[in-house]
Symmetry: C2
Subunit: 299 residues, 2 copies
Amino acid sequence: MPLKIGTLAVVRKVDELRRVVAQWHRAGDVVALVPTMGALHRGHLTLVGEARALADRVIASIFVNPTQFGPNEDFNRYPRDEAADAAKLAEAHCDLLYAPDLAEMYPAGFAATVSAGPLAEPLCGRFRPGHFAGVATVVTKLLLQACADLACFGEKDYQQLQIIRRVVRDLDIPVRTEGVPTVREEDGLALSSRNAYLSPEERRIAPALHRVLAEVAVRASAGTPGDEAASWGAAAVNAAGFTKLDYLEIRDAESLAPLAAGRPGRVFAAAWLGKTRLIDNEPLPPIPGAGTVEAGGKA
Amino acid sequence: MPLKIGTLAVVRKVDELRRVVAQWHRAGDVVALVPTMGALHRGHLTLVGEARALADRVIASIFVNPTQFGPNEDFNRYPRDEAADAAKLAEAHCDLLYAPDLAEMYPAGFAATVSAGPLAEPLCGRFRPGHFAGVATVVTKLLLQACADLACFGEKDYQQLQIIRRVVRDLDIPVRTEGVPTVREEDGLALSSRNAYLSPEERRIAPALHRVLAEVAVRASAGTPGDEAASWGAAAVNAAGFTKLDYLEIRDAESLAPLAAGRPGRVFAAAWLGKTRLIDNEPLPPIPGAGTVEAGGKA
C-alpha cells in the first residue's frame, strides 16, 4: 500500500508506481498521467480535471527536473511545497502522487538523452540551451515509468507540448498526449508557478504580455503583414514596462517553422520582468498569403 | 490474422504488432523480441533459441536501419533475403516476424533521436560517427513498438549491447535485456552477416582477428602490461593480412572507459579486409594493477 500525504496516496519509486498502475490496468481502468514540477496552481488542476474526464485513474507527478534548468536559471529558488501540492491534488480527485527523488530519476552513471530535433531550436531553444533536451528526456522517463494510457500537458508551454508530441510519436511511446488550453487570471496573465516571483509592480505589468500577443494575432488575421505585426508587438511589450524581450515571433503552430501561407500559426513571446522570465502564446488562424515573421530584442 | 511467409506469421505495422502482443499478454504469455537486420545466420538463431528458452512467445524483427549506416557504408549492398530469413525463423520456432518498411519506422517529419552519452564515443564510435545514435534510436523504437517483456542481443556487437542496456535503464524502457555470447565458426571467426562479403582469400585470413584477441587476453591476464599486450595484438592483426586496423583496445567491460585495476575488462578490435570491416571482442578477467590500454593504426 502506498503511503499517504494527508488523504493522497504517494509513491516515490518506479517499481511501486508500476505495481499500482499494473493493478489498475488489470482492473480495466484507463490511467492518465499529469507531469508537473509542483508549485501547483489552477492551471495544473485544470490538467488534472481534464485527465479525470478522460481516464478512470489520475496520477500527478511532481519532480523539479534539474536537467532542464540552465546554470544561471532558477532551479534552486523554484517554489517547492509538497504538502500544499498534495492537498490541492487530493481536492482535485487525483488518485496518486508520484514524487521521485533525484537518485530515483538520475542514478549514478545516468547518461542517455532524448532530442526532438529541429523543434527544440527556435523560440525558447535559442535562449535556454539544453532546456528541451532536459524536458524531452525527463518526460520520456516519466511516461515510460508510469505506463499510463494518456498524459496531459498545458498549451502554456506550447513549444514543450509540440516537442513532447514529436518524441512520443517518433519513439513510439505507447501513450496518448492531450494538450490543454492555457488557464489565465481574470486580467489575461497565463497562470505560471513563476508568477509567484513577481513584485506587485511587476504583477501589474505582466498581463500586457498576453494583451499584446492577442493584439498581434488580431492584426495579423486582419491582414497586417506578419513581420509588421510582430515588430509592433515587440515594441508594445517593451513599452509596457518589460525589462527585456527574448523574442516575439509568429510561427507554424505545429512545426514551429516560419509560417507559410494557409497554415495555422501561433504567436509566441518570452519577456522578462526583472529576474522573472514569462512566456505566453496565442493561436493565429490560417492567413492566406502570410509569410515568415520574426522580431526580437529590446528596442 | 497476420499474413504468412511460408509457415511464419508476419506483421508490417506497429498497430498490428501491438494487437498480437496484447493478445499474448492477456493470455499471460511472456514475450521476447529479437531485433535483427536480417541476413540471418546461426548467431541470430541462437538469439531466437535463447529467447525461446526465456519466453512463451518470440518475435524477431527485421529492419535494415538506414540511420545507423554512414554515407560511405554498406547500406545499399547489405544482404537482404526475407523469404530465406522467414524460413530460418520458422525452423527456429519463432512465433512472429515483424518486418516494418521505411515509412512505418520513419514517417515524414521524423526528428527525434536517442543518445547513450559517453558509451557511444570510443571504439566504433570514433570510426562510425552517428552510428550509435542511429542504433539507440531504432532499438528504442522497436522495444517500444513491441512492448515485449524481454529482448535478446548478441555480445558480438558488445559496444551496442552496453549502449542498449544504458538506454533501457536510463529511459526506463520497461523491458529486460539479455546479452547472448558470440557464436563462432569452427575456426573462431565470429558469425556476422558481413562475412558474406569476404573473398575466399579474405575468409582464410579473417579468423586471425579472434585468435589475436584471445591471445591478447591471455597475455594481459598472465601479467603482460595492457598497453604492451594491445600493441602486440595490433601488430599481429596487421601481420595476419588485414588491410587496415581501426582499433585494438582493452577497456572496462561495462563502462567502456579505460580499464582500472581490479575491474573486468574486454579486448575490442575492428579491422578491415578490403572493403569489409569486421569487429570482435573477447572477455578479460579482472587483472590486479591493470592500467589503461590502447593501440591502433596500421604499422
